[in-house]
């Protein structure tokens, strides 16, 4: 008796299992997805108007209409490069994903700088920066410039001809500042249609302290500072960067400013998460 009952249960279990095995690809979630897909197809489906509503085309135009409605020539795909012929691109690569993300990553920058608006000195040096990306568009940055100067030809002539020391206008020896970094522009650029380089363009707003040397000028002075620049991605963690920073401050002789042009490289840490 027991064996008969056990056999009955086993047979019942066999049929139940078979039914579930055949339905392995179906569950309520998949049914919902299929329904959604079908709904999308129906939504985008173009339903032709009834034949009675169509105007009757004259005989002369029928051949032209037939000509226009012929399907485009079929493209044979024989190699991988033929894939590029399938979809008619109307634009270069669309800006769908950022190649070099900044959110939650630390940036370090090192580069060479030059003050381009000091007519009395040739000022050049190093620039070090550290930044943190709060979001893709906003970040904070601290900068430090180390500058070295030599008198220009104009300063040499002014001293030689008129015994006037141009050092009295002040010589910038350094700058330390902090910024809010806004990166509203993301782009991609092609080099002679051979390679695409993603880049970011940013704007800095902040202030800092300029170190000065010279006759009759203070040793340091504070003032606002703004800047702009671009970072061209080389890899996901390294980029080439140029920066133009404008520092403004006031001396006893009046308001003055420094325009610093910097070229260098940016490093991003930690490694970007893959997509």
């Amino acid at each position: 008796m027991f064996r008969k009952t056990l056999t009955g249960f086993l047979v019942f279990g066999l049929f139940l299992n078979a039914k579930m095995a055949l339905a392995q690809s179906s569950d309520s979630g998949d049914d919902r997805d299929l329904d959604q897909i079908e709904a999308e197809i129906k939504k985008n489906e173009v339903i032709p108007p009834p034949a009675s509503a169509l105007p009757v085309a004259p005989a002369k135009e029928s051949s032209a209409t037939v000509t226009k409605e012929t399907s485009p020539p079929e493209i044979k795909v024989e190699t991988l490069s033929d894939l590029s012929k399938l979809q008619p691109f109307s634009e270069i690569s669309v800006l769908q994903r950022r190649y070099m993300p900044k959110s939650g990553r630390v940036q370090f920058f090192g580069g060479l700088s030059d003050i381009v608006n000091d007519p009395w000195n040739s000022n050049s040096g190093f620039n070090l920066r550290a930044a943190y990306g709060l979001t893709e568009a906003w970040g904070i940055e601290v900068v430090d410039y180390f500058m070295s100067s030599t008198p220009s030809q104009a300063a040499t002539n002014l001293l030689a001809q008129h015994n006037v020391n141009a050092q009295s206008f002040g010589v910038t020896s350094g700058f330390v500042g902090g910024y809010v970094m806004w990166t509203p522009i993301y782009g991609k650029m092609s080099f002679s249609t051979e390679k695409i380089v993603p880049f970011d363009m940013y704007f800095n707003f902040g202030s800092g302290n300029t170190s000065l040397s010279g006759v009759g000028v203070p040793s340091s002075v504070s003032g606002p500072s703004v800047g702009t620049g671009q970072v061209f991605a080389i890899t996901r963690s390294v980029g080439f960067r140029w920066d133009l920073t404008w520092n403004m401050y006031t001396l006893p002789s009046g308001s003055t400013n420094n325009l610093l042009l910097t070229f260098g490289a940016n490093w991003y840490f930690p490694e970007a998460s893959y997509r």
């Binding site: 078979a18 095995a21 634009e91 270069i92 690569s93 030809q153 008129h162 782009g187 092609s190």
Partner: protein
């Protein structure tokens, strides 16, 4: 009996196997075995730009701009000018750049030098008047930018190189310049243009011992010595293609 025992055994094994198989019907691969990067096919002849929004080939371009020579110590640093150029293909173009320099001096420094105790009057030096340059522009970079994710604009970046002349009140001097420019396009016709150039050009030296103080006799222009200087030029303007 033996048949029943065997049948039950086979049935039990079958049920056990199907249950195990069913339990593993939905295979989940560990995260580290999944593909981590999207891979695009490598084409034999890659072409990154399929269709341009901005067509330069065979077009004329003109525009006006405002500019500065930040390295000018004595003369006025500001100028206004216009550009006129022709693109003979998508990459190469030639431009004529004319600038009218603002009258006066660089007040940031000449004000202090004209005051006590220096009393130097640099209006006695030959005045900077105008300049005319012919530049080649290599439109090798073309791209587009997303502005705050709400708009897309095209841009071109181009190296510039050329030569020209700068005219002072007494004579003209030759010079060369080179730099980099960028154009941000609002439409296929209009663009904001910014050029940054280094300019090495001749000029009269404004420093002349014994002739620049207000108490001294004014010199003739030919007494000022010719020299050369490196300037840093920034031009910002609006251009149109037609």
């Amino acid at each position: 009996m033996k048949f029943q025992n065997g049948f039950i055994s086979i049935l039990s094994c079958f049920l056990l196997v199907t249950h195990v198989t069913k339990a593993h019907a939905q295979v989940e691969l560990p995260q580290e075995e999944l593909a981590k990067e999207t891979v695009v096919p490598r084409f034999d002849n890659p072409t990154t730009v399929k269709a341009r929004n901005i067509i330069l080939n065979g077009k004329f371009e003109t525009g006006v701009y405002y500019g500065w020579n930040f390295a000018e110590a004595i003369e006025n640093q500001s100028k206004m000018g216009l550009n006129l150029g022709y693109h003979w293909n998508e990459i190469s173009s030639v431009f004529i750049n004319y600038a009218a320099w603002q009258a006066g001096l660089n007040g940031q420094y000449t004000s202090a030098l004209s005051a006590q105790p220096y009393n130097l009057d640099f209006t006695r030096a030959p005045q900077l008047q105008s300049s005319l340059w012919v530049n080649y522009e290599w439109n090798v970079y073309y791209g587009k930018i997303s502005i705050t994710k709400k708009g897309i604009s095209n841009l071109t970046v181009y190296p510039i190189a050329g030569g020209g002349m700068t005219t002072y009140s007494n004579k003209s001097y030759y010079g060369i310049n080179a730099g980099l420019g960028a154009k941000f396009y609002f439409s296929p016709r209009w663009a904001l243009r910014t050029d940054f150039k280094l300019q090495y050009s001749g000029q009269p030296s404004p420093f002349l011992q014994g002739a620049m103080k207000t108490s001294q006799a004014a010199p003739t222009p030919d007494r000022f010595q010719d020299t050369s200087a490196l300037g840093t030029i920034l031009d910002v303007g609006l251009v149109a293609l037609f």
